[in-house]
């Protein structure tokens, strides 16, 4: 076991995969010699060579397309998109190709590509370095979608994603790279070495896709969330002295419906929280599933806590970010007696 921040944990996952599978290649903008703008691939090119850890042109569409071609030829590419905000030029290749190759060839071909990309706000990145587009990808049949909330899971999930024979889009909440974040930017930053999930096995291990983590068991309300909001939600519930059950989804597709429903059936109340904009965000799917599966158990309408339906504005980062105040408001509403 070692202390690792999320960047180090991701780096360790890729290191282990490069060593274990000669078919793994890492590729992306600035990821080779430089080690990535967030330094997730630091040292890997030196260790595994320029042919396993490839700098690429600045063309997200080209990166994903060539990664698909490589995977069809037996490699397992792990492509970094420098910011999730810049994944859209590759959207057609993801949606129309990556997601469809197994299906349209009846399994004769497949494309085990992993796409890693930092997402989310809280770093004063303005509207083009803060987006959380995960919801869009969950609507595309054939793509798995993952978002870890801590170093331990990040490493285990990334290893699983790389070894998975289906394509995975792996979102990394960049505000969590260096430490957990409870949504209050005025507090001093907390590093991961103060957190149990910052204790990371240095060797190979996996965390399964499709298995949510119950971060905290509780009886009064279920909070379903992922990424940065795991910590914000926990802090808000704690501040209110609520006995909340907090579910960190970890993987959005496949989704651990059983864990969600078991919890809501127990608590009877539910809040869904994410950073992404509200309208047609992934929260809508979560809410829908809970409503469909647990309607008769609900003692109050499910509440959504989300970013607003605007771009992420530079100057109003904290008015935009769904912080503890927004979570508390939702918890208060959901706890109101009928």
């Amino acid at each position: 076991m070692a202390n690792m921040n999320m960047i180090q944990a991701l780096n360790s996952a890729m290191d282990i995969m490069l060593k274990k599978h000669p078919s793994v290649v890492i590729m992306g903008e600035d990821i080779g010699y430089f080690g990535g703008v967030f330094r997730a691939t630091e040292g890997l090119q030196r260790k595994y060579g320029e042919h396993r850890v490839l700098d690429t042109p600045i063309a997200e569409g080209g990166i994903i397309a060539t990664a698909i071609g490589m995977s069809v030829n037996g490699l397992r590419p792990v492509a970094e998109i420098q910011f999730a905000d810049y994944i859209y030029p590759g959207f057609d290749q993801i949606c129309s190709e990556l997601a469809r190759i197994r299906y349209r060839t009846a399994g004769d071909f497949c494309a085990p590509v992993t796409i890693r990309t930092p997402c989310g706000g809280g770093i004063r990145g303005g509207q083009t370095h803060s987006q959380s587009p995960e919801g869009i990808f969950t609507h595309v049949s054939g793509i798995k979608v993952v978002m870890p909330s801590n170093p331990y899971d990040a490493k285990g999930l990334l290893i699983t994603a790389i070894e998975d024979d289906d394509p995975v889009v792996f979102f990394e909440p960049k505000r969590l790279y260096n430490g957990p974040f409870d949504g209050d930017p005025t507090k001093p930053a907390v590093p991961w070495n103060a957190h149990p999930k910052g204790q990371v096995d240095e060797g190979y291990y996996t965390v399964p896709l499709g298995k949510a983590d119950i971060v905290r068991t509780g009886s009064e309300v279920t909070i379903i969330t992922y990424g940065t909001m795991v910590f914000v939600a926990a802090a808000a519930a704690a501040a209110m002295n609520l006995d909340a059950e907090i579910i960190d989804l970890r993987s959005l597709v496949p989704l651990d419906v059983d864990t969600i429903c078991t919890s809501v059936r127990k608590t009877g109340r539910c809040v869904v929280a994410h950073e992404a904009t509200r309208f047609s965000g992934f929260g809508a799917e979560l809410l829908s599933i809970v409503q469909e599966e647990c309607f008769w158990d609900l003692e109050a309408p499910i509440q959504r806590v989300t970013g607003w339906d605007t771009p992420y504005p530079h100057a109003f980062e904290w008015e935009y970010f769904p912080g503890q105040a927004r979570v508390s408001m939702a918890l208060k509403t959901v706890m109101e007696p009928a």
């Binding site: 569409g61 397309a65 490589m70 299906y103 009846a106 289906d166 419906v257």
Partner: protein
């Protein structure tokens, strides 16, 4: 808003719209045998002229001339002729089957048969092909049984795609032919990635891909050229310039100002323009490009100048947008006629043998169709199990799909539930 009377936006115009006389004077031709054949190690920047000239081997008299003459064995030429003829007869019959309502959709490659057949024959079986929808000749030249192709067209119980793809969207794992996508051009940079992987692994297979000149407008074309150039990937990128993209003339893809092959040198890639209806020229150019790729001398962009003889697809009516008899005026003739004439000149073929071959291949098409039909048609025979709809979305079927499969079963088992076959 005020507008001046006259816009000065330039708009490319088609060579002939309905009622007009076809005028192909815009097509830049080189005489057969006139274009030099550079060393395979030549640097892209030093052979820029290849991208504006037109490599031709067969002259008007059916004689093979000049430095690109590939000197193939007559037996090989006969195989090429056979593949091309089979492609055409297959197309004709499938077109008729579509008209008769037996398949939902079809796309012919009339007049472009040399592209797929000669190129495929110039490559090795281990080379990976990333085709477009008008490359059925690749499948035929790789020896994929017609039965396989027909079952795909029928979406029947023997369909390699398990009913999931529109007709003509074949693939062949064993034949090293990648899946065709309905989304144009996406395969082009994928081929480059495949080739990059071959290079990374130190294998000497190459990848080849085909798109229409119209599709070269898509971003994927640029990505393919760029990545191929940066990594000098062992790939052959082919633009099939059949002059039309549905109703739109090649000028709208940029062909008016410059050849498509000329994009290559712009990216530092060898670009070469070839008479796409000249089996020998297509073969020779492809062989040259393959040798370049295999010796790490770099990728090649080939523009195959040809003409779309038929409608875009069975959903299209070209009488609405182009001159009726335009194909007959195409200055580069017909690839099958030209190879046939050449073989006859060589004393290796005759009208009688051609007739016999045609009869043989027609019979093959008909018997294959008969056999394919035994695996189910749109209206009769065994049907694919609709459960298959839920498979292969992921390697393992997730819970929500298992549940949806149950729901679908419940729906379709109800009496009177609608079934495929409606329109």
């Amino acid at each position: 808003m005020r507008m001046k009377k006259h816009s000065h936006l330039h708009l490319p115009s088609a060579p002939a719209r309905p009622g007009e006389a076809p005028d192909f004077s815009y097509v830049a031709l080189s005489p057969a045998g006139a274009v030099a054949r550079p060393d395979i190690n030549a640097r892209a920047r030093d052979i820029g002229s290849l991208s504006v000239e037109l490599v031709r081997v067969l002259d008007d008299a059916g004689e093979a001339v000049g430095p690109w003459h590939p000197h193939l064995d007559p037996a090989e030429l006969q195989i090429g002729l056979r593949h091309m003829l089979l492609t055409r007869l297959y197309d004709e019959r499938m077109q008729r089957n579509q008209r008769a309502g037996k398949i939902s959709f079809y796309i012919r490659s009339l007049g472009e048969e040399a592209v797929s057949v000669a190129q495929c024959m110039a490559l090795r079986p281990g080379d990976m092909l990333f085709p477009s929808y008008r490359n059925q000749g690749l499948h035929i030249a790789r020896g994929i049984p017609l039965l396989d192709l027909m079952c795909q067209l029928l979406s029947n119980t023997r369909d390699m795609c398990k009913g999931r793809q529109l007709p003509v969207m074949y693939h062949s794992k064993a034949g090293n032919i990648f899946s065709i996508s309905g989304n144009l051009a996406t395969q082009f940079p994928q081929a480059v990635g495949w080739a990059m992987a071959a290079a990374i692994k130190g294998e000497d297979h190459l990848a080849a891909s085909w798109i229409g000149e119209g599709s070269s407008a898509e971003a994927d074309f640029h990505h393919a050229l760029l990545f191929a150039s940066v990594y000098q990937a062992p790939v052959i990128l082919n633009v099939v310039n059949n002059q039309w993209a549905i109703s739109t003339f090649q000028g709208y893809a940029g062909g008016e100002q410059r050849s498509f092959a000329a994009r290559g040198p712009g990216y530092g890639i060898a670009g070469i323009r070839v008479d796409g209806n000249d089996f020998l020229a297509v073969y020779a150019v492809t062989q040259w490009a393959a040798e370049r790729a295999r010796t790490a001398a770099g990728p090649t962009l080939i523009e195959l100048v040809t003409y779309r003889g038929a409608a875009h697809s069975t959903s299209d009516d070209p009488a609405r947008y182009r001159a009726k008899d335009d194909h007959e005026h195409w200055p580069l003739g017909d690839p099958i006629q030209r190879l046939k004439q050449h073989l006859i000149k060589l004393g290796e073929w005759s009208e009688a043998r051609h007739q016999a071959l045609t009869t043989e291949l027609e019979a093959l098409v008909i018997s294959s169709w008969k056999e394919a039909s035994t695996f189910g048609t749109m209206t009769e025979g065994p049907k694919l199990n609709a459960d298959l709809m839920f498979e292969d979305v992921f390697k393992e079927m997730p819970k929500n799909l298992r549940k949806q499969r149950e729901l679908m079963r419940a729906e379709t088992s109800r009496p009177g539930a609608p079934r495929a076959g409606g329109k």
